[in-house]
Every structure is written in C-alpha cells, then in structure tokens.
C-alpha cells in the first residue's frame, strides 16, 4: 500500500518544476557503417524537431523526429542513398548547478527508415539505442540553448543477397546545437 502512496509522490517530486517544451536542433552526424570486416564513414547533417516534458534540472522525457538526407553509397548501387526519417524517445537526467546551466545525460531508443535504390529493397528500416550528454543554457523562462553530443548504435534491416543475408550496423556520433521553447 505504501508503494502506491510513495510512487505518485516520487513521480511528482521528479517533475516538481515540470514544463513542456518544443525545440529544434541541428546535428552533424558522423556515421561509421560496418559490414563484416569492412567499414565506411559518412557525415550527414541531421535536422530534428522535438517535444518534451519534465524538469530540465531533474528528469524529462523527449520525443523527437529527425530528417537526414544521405548522399552516401552504402546501400545503393546506382546513385546515392536517400532520405532517412527517424523517431526517437529519450529520457534525460539533468542537474542544476547554477549559472543558468543545466548539464544532462540522456538515453533512449529510436527507429526509422531510409530510402535506398536496390533491386530488392526500396527502403531499409533500422532501430537504435541512443546515449548522450550535453548542457542547456537557460536564457530566460521561455528559451534555452542546448549543446551536446549523442551516440547511436543503429541496427539495419537484414539485406538479402540470395546466398547470404547481411546485417549492417552503424555507429553515429552527433554533436548538436539546438534551441527549445518552454511553455
């Protein structure tokens, strides 16, 4: 019974200064694609819109939708790989050491798909685990700037090559900047 009393209190304490926010961020995604013993690097800008709720000095949760336009030759034989759309859900743990700065760490999961031009596949899906760290600078009660670094381990859809199925994984390192509007 105590659990049922304390859990809501704990929840309320986590979001004691909870507020909603929406924001934009721009990321430079450096991605290392790995297939068996081979690997290849690619750098692609990533654009993200996000919406979150919580206390940036404690816990907050964020959903984000991202767009990348790959110009790489990872999967596509004739031409280039195409756009990728991603949805991520991320949990943030932040601190309030003062000076209007709010450092944080985050972890989350994501999924998405990417347009490719292959004989057997028009698009490839992927899922990812995300980890990151960063700091927000609160300008005023409404806006904060956000700068950070995010790592994603991405697992791509199995690709059929008749004789074998191949599994590509990729490691993304995304430095980013963003701005958030709180309400």
């Amino acid at each position: 019974m105590r659990v049922f009393i304390f859990l809501p209190l704990f929840y309320i304490s986590l979001f004691a200064e909870a507020a909603s926010y929406i924001g934009l961020s721009l990321e430079s995604s450096t991605e290392l694609f790995v297939l068996k013993d081979e690997s290849r690097n690619a750098t692609t800008p990533q654009y993200k819109i996000k919406a979150g709720y919580g206390d940036i000095g404690a816990f907050s949760v964020e959903a984000s939708f991202s767009y990348m336009n790959y110009a790489t030759d990872i999967f596509t034989f004739n031409g280039h790989d195409g756009r990728a759309l991603m949805l991520d859900i991320t949990l943030f743990k932040g601190w309030d050491p003062g000076y209007d700065l709010y450092p944080y760490v985050d972890a989350g999961i994501g999924m998405g798909d990417m347009k490719v031009n292959r004989e057997l596949e028009n698009s490839l899906t992927f899922s990812s685990f995300n980890f990151g760290t960063g700091v927000r600078y609160v300008i005023n009660h409404t806006y904060d700037f956000d700068i950070g670094m995010n790592y994603k381990l991405r697992t791509w859809q199995t690709i059929a090559l008749i004789k074998d199925n191949v599994h590509v994984t990729s490691h993304l390192l995304n430095p980013y900047v963003g701005i958030n509007y709180h309400f």
Partner: protein, 233 residues
Amino acid sequence: MKFSTLTLLPISLSLFFLGCGTESNEPPLVPEILKIEINDYNTTANAYALYVENEIPKTEMHINVFYSDDTEATATEDLDWVSLDGSDISQDILVTNGEITAFRNHGDANVTATFREKFKTPARHVHIIPLTKILSVTAQTDANTSELTPSTELNISVPTGESIKMLADGQFEDEKNITTINQSIIWTSSNYDVATINSITGQMNVIKTGAVDINVSVYNEVNATVTLNITIK
C-alpha cells in the same frame, strides 16, 4: 553581452553543421545482385527417371549469383524453381533446392529459378533419361533367392504360410543399370487364388499350390512378366 555571445555560438555551429556532409561515388558497401544464372544453363541437364540412394543420384543444379563487386556465389536454397510453361512446376519433374526429381519415364522441361520474383535465370533444359527395360525379376524366400529373366518360369517350393518377396532390376536408355526398383512400380498377380501380391512392395502371400503370372510395371510403361509354379510344402 552574455546573451549575444551565447546566441552567436549556436548560430555559428549551425552554419558549420550545415556545411557538413559526405557525397561519394564509391561502390556500395553492401554489394548489389546483378544477375543470377543456373549453372551450365546452355547445356541439357539429364535426370534419371528413377532415383535410388547411393546408386542413381538425383541431378543437382545450382545458381550462380553475380554481385556488383565482381564476386560470385552459388546457391540452391530460397529459390523458386519453375518451368517455363507457367505452372509452378512441369508435370514431368520437380526441382527442390536444385535437385531434380522425375515423375514420368519420359519428359523434358525448361526450368528457371527466380528469387522474390525480381531475379530470374535464363532457362535450362532438363531431359528425363527413361527406364527402357526390366533386366530381371528376383523371387526371394527365407531359404532361396532365384533370379529370372522376363518371360521365363520358375518352380518354387515354399513352406505353408511363408511369403515370397519380389524384386526387379532394370536398365535406363543410356544402359546404366538400376537394382531394386522401388518407385513408380506396380506388381500384379494373375491368379489371386494362388497368390496375392502387394502392388507397391512386391510382397507375395502364397495361398495354395498352382501357377501364377507375376507382372511388374514401371511408370505403366516398362513391363515384364514371370511365371511362378508354386508348390506348398
């Protein structure tokens, strides 16, 4: 002052990030399938009308897969093998994982393999090598084994209640022999008052003393008859 500095920082970083991006013209990291072909597709694949493990092997085909990175691989599984008449398979043969099984004593088919309806091989012609004759029929009891050429007689004595096992050997068109035919074979007895016979296994049950013609037929096409003069001891 502090505000303007901290505002300019993300704007500068944003402009920097916008300038990032890799555009390459390398071959893809994951190779593309260019085409598939049945091995030796410009030759005829001959398959025997009957299969006997360790004696008459099934003819095997495989496909060669050609990739964009100039590599090749061979595969037999996960392909749909179809005949060119449009049905799933011809009435004469079945191809499973590249292995040909004949369903008739004569026949030809043009076979292709497809993968997810996207890749299709050129056709390969498959010819069934027919069984042309029964070489001998063997009557086997617990005590004796007697081999007869077709259209001959055998006097045979069996104890009451004992059965006789009938076996047949044959020869294909290319003069390759086959022992103990056990597929597509039908045994019949001319006189069920004297002996009955299991049409598939060739197992005879002797009922009374007398003469009986035993006929063996493969694919209803290759036949032989022997006469057994049976005496019950």
